[in-house]
């Protein structure tokens, strides 16, 4: 179902049936926080992006719609700003700071990603804002945390992933570490922003008390290392990267049209895998029941690897996936972004949503909800806002600024 076109009437923006309707969130985030506020916006919170007059840096991030580099056509910006509103504000100016303070008094939550100390300089730090709005929840998402020796260290996604320990666990064992793709450092930071903000919102509902949250991208990454810290703690062994041959029968292997993730390590899984090969007249080299034993299999890893390589090389991702699952084997294709867009499961679940972009005269397909909700259906209400699209609605109609004042602030580079 196409989402409704953008509508700047705040009364229409709010969906009372949604989980987080009624909450107002101010969003001053770079890439470390965009998914944080998107999740809340998509669950019904009213999220207002406070952008500098020249626009959020995310507006200049590629990819662009039909590769047209234009701040209103960034797919990156679009995706992370569905259901959000936009106002512009120059926080370096006294007028801008005053307006921001008025805005904060209408908000439940402020999520920001500025360098530690930056908001203090502007008199907009938690202590100052709390004086205006005692139950404010302020979520600060930074590279390393707001305090501590690395608080001023510069970082982007790759630095967070490396300092947090995940990069070390990616790559072939005999090669360099390689950072995981998909800006996961940013997304991990943002997701921790969402979770911590909601914990604080629950506490506020119970007690009326607000608080300040200090999220670290590095720490967010450090919580993805599985057993690494326990393994070192117990046995002083440093877990390292395992590459495409993780262990006997946990492999990434080439197949006819791409790659497949093979997992045949379990007590049930291994015999099923061997049976499959036998049914196809292959796999004699691993048919010996001794291979069911983990240690025997690890000792003869080369045979296992070569046999499975040969078997899967002649088959397609889709054929392997379907047959493996029919046999209750947890294999999966290594999907490309195109495979994701074409996924029958994602399509059957209604994951992709058509969003109207009226000024382009087009609808665009977006990846949608992480979950199905029985009582409060997830909705993509409208596309990302254009720069300052809600200035008039918020500043004039809601905060009571006169139109003359709005024009003056525009001319003065404050909006």
């Amino acid at each position: 179902m196409p989402a409704a076109p953008h509508d700047d009437n705040p009364a229409h923006d709010n969906d009372p049936k949604a989980m987080l309707s009624g909450y107002r969130v101010l969003d001053m985030c770079d890439e470390k926080g965009l998914l944080c506020t998107k999740l809340m916006a998509d669950l019904g919170a009213e999220v207002i992006v406070v952008e500098p007059p020249k626009g959020s840096p995310a507006r200049s991030r590629s990819p662009f719609y039909h590769d047209q580099p234009d701040r209103e056509k960034s797919l990156y910006f679009w995706y992370f700003h569905t259901n959000k509103r936009s106002v512009t504000l120059n926080l370096e100016t006294p007028d801008g700071q005053a307006l921001f303070k008025s805005l904060v008094q209408t908000a439940d939550v402020l999520v920001e990603t500025s360098i530690p100390g930056e908001l203090d300089r502007l008199g907009l730090d938690y202590e100052h804002l709390r004086a205006l709005k005692p139950d404010l929840i302020m979520t600060s998402i930074t590279n390393f945390g707001r305090e501590g020796p690395y608080r001023h260290y510069k970082a982007s996604d790759i630095i967070g992933l490396s300092m947090g320990g995940l990069t070390y666990l990616c790559g072939e064992p005999d090669g360099p570490p390689v950072p995981p793709g998909g800006e996961q450092g940013y997304q991990l930071a943002a997701l921790n922003g969402t979770m911590s903000t909601l914990i604080a919102l629950w506490h506020r509902e119970m007690t009326g008390q607000g608080q300040h949250i200090d999220v670290s991208m590095q720490a967010a990454v450090a919580n993805t290392l599985e057993t690494s810290h326990q393994t070192f703690d117990f046995n002083r062994e440093i877990r390292t990267r395992t590459g495409h041959r993780r262990q006997a029968s946990a492999y990434i292997l080439p197949c006819l049209d791409g790659f497949i993730a093979v997992l045949g390590t379990s007590r049930m899984g291994w015999p099923r895998l061997v049976e499959w090969l036998r049914d196809e007249g292959e796999g004699d080299a691993i048919a010996d029941p001794q291979f069911t034993d983990d240690y025997y299999r690890f000792e003869h890893e080369d045979v296992v690897y070569q046999t499975l390589c040969d078997f899967f090389a002649t088959r397609t991702k889709q054929a392997i996936y379907t047959e493996a699952q029919r046999r209750r084997l947890p294999l999966a294709p290594v999907n490309t972004p195109q495979d994701l867009a074409d996924s029958p499961q994602l399509q059957a679940r209604g994951f992709f949503v058509e969003v109207e972009h009226p000024e382009l005269g087009a609808t665009v397909r977006y990846p949608g909800a992480p979950y199905g909700l029985s009582e409060t259906p997830w909705r993509l209400r409208h596309r990302a806002p254009s720069l300052g699209e809600d200035n008039e609605a918020i500043y004039v109609r809601e905060l009571g600024l006169s139109r003359d004042a709005l024009s003056a602030l525009r001319a003065g580079g404050i909006l």
């Binding site: 690395y150 995940l166 506490h203 999220v215 993805t224 117990f234 199905g372």
Partner: protein, 407 residues
């Protein structure tokens, strides 16, 4: 005075296992929710028994798995054998006193036991039920089997991780298991907020697959809108150079460096001691550097290789260039002053493993910080849950234990 906890008013009945969902409820438990983790000897959580490195001295012990314990801090642990007919009625009594019920099975298991949402909401109409399955409970692949290892392949992480001409490596961990928990805890609390406002419960049909793909939105939209299939880059960036992982002095030691501007490039040259390559005209502009990546990376690596990674990081950071050591477990636990400053790892005493590290949350709440307790041993809280919460007599608890219902 005890520290106030944010989620103390909430009780979660947790039928989940492995990584994703248990870690989600761990974060709730660490912030005060009473999470009752339901386990059984009949169907042990594999994390209690798999592997070896996360057991002290590599010695397996049902209650000594760091793998299990780390993901289950602050919870109550009970045993309940759902394959025993009498167990279902007890499970239903536990449902009646809970706010949230979570499982991570395919839809078949909970249906078989009569513990699916439709059954449970008869017991408690405002219940929040979340099925944290891999692909959701509808659609042609709803019953497909999978674990974090496969999900990172299925959801696109593998394809995007590695070198352009190499394998789609993904990570060496079950990566999505560590991304899902934040989605899961967030949607649970959102449903609680909705219930508080309206009195209504909710069924959440979670899909780990969808949640993982939703972190890759712009990449998927590039395929949909522009027909461009993005792929792995080995850490290189289309808009920054040098950008990647550089070998440093030491065994398997590396530093990440990300140079976005020409000024940062000049700073890097200064830190490196003004070598001739840093002055080469072709490297003075972003476009020039992007055009000559192989030569650029080789020169930068020739400098970094002469220094320990921490020196490279500290010197570049002092000059305003983003850089970070490719840290491993020992670095994080013993040599990272920042994580130490934050008290990131919590040291807790567990009856079997003794004093050991648990991961704390990646955030600090100023008013209600996390307070971690060690993970439960199998069935550790049977007396509390069955006796105190359900009011069963000591004799009944003993009988149920003898009859392998509490097993």
């Amino acid at each position: 005075m005890t520290t106030p906890q944010a989620m103390t008013s909430i009780r979660v009945l947790d039928f989940s296992w492995f990584g994703a969902a248990p870690i989600g409820t761990k974060w709730l438990a660490d912030h005060g929710a009473e999470v009752i983790r339901v386990e059984s000897h009949e169907r042990l959580d594999a994390l209690r028994v798999l592997g070896s490195g996360h057991f002290r001295d590599y010695t397996p012990d049902l209650n000594g798995s760091g793998f299990f314990n780390d993901f289950n801090s602050s919870k109550c642990g009970i045993t309940l054998n759902l394959n025993h007919p009498e167990a279902i009625e007890i499970a239903r009594r536990l449902v009646a006193i809970s706010d949230v019920v979570i499982d991570s099975f395919t839809r078949r298991a909970m249906r078989k036991w009569g513990l699916y949402y439709d059954d449970l909401m008869q017991i408690k109409p405002d219940l929040i039920v979340i099925n944290a399955s891999q692909q959701g409970h509808t659609g042609p692949h709803a019953d497909y089997l999978g674990f974090g290892y496969n999900l990172q392949a299925l959801a696109g992480i593998n394809h995007l991780t590695g070198y352009p001409d190499g394998y789609p490596l993904g990570t060496s961990v079950n990566y999505p298991d560590f991304v899902m928990p934040m989605f899961i805890a967030s949607v649970i609390i959102s449903a609680l907020l909705y219930r508080k406002r309206t009195g209504k419960g909710q069924h959440i049909d979670f899909s780990q697959y969808q949640a993982m793909v939703s972190t890759l939105g712009p990449t998927v939209m590039d395929a949909i809108v522009n027909g461009r299939v993005q792929s792995r880059t080995g850490g290189r960036s289309a808009t920054a150079a040098p950008h990647g992982i550089y070998r440093c002095q030491g065994d398997d030691r590396w530093c990440a460096i990300a140079v976005f501007t020409d000024e940062e490039w000049q700073s890097l040259g200064r830190v490196a001691g003004h070598p001739s390559w840093a002055q080469e005209p072709r490297f003075q502009t972003l476009l020039g550097r992007l055009e000559h990546l192989d030569a650029l990376d080789a020169h930068v690596a020739s400098w970094t290789a002469q220094h320990p990674p921490k020196t490279v990081m500290a010197q570049l950071q002092a000059a305003g260039v983003a850089a970070g050591v490719v840290q491993h477990a020992q670095d994080l636990l013993e040599n990272d002053p920042q994580l130490r400053h934050r008290g990131h790892y919590h040291r807790l005493t567990h009856p079997v493993t003794g004093l050991t590290y648990y991961m704390g949350p990646a955030f600090r709440l100023s008013a209600t910080p996390a307070v971690l307790k060690p993970a439960p041993c199998l069935g550790e809280h049977n007396a509390y849950v069955y006796g105190e919460l359900l009011g069963m007599s000591q004799a009944d608890i003993e009988r149920h234990t003898r009859d392998k219902i509490f097993y």
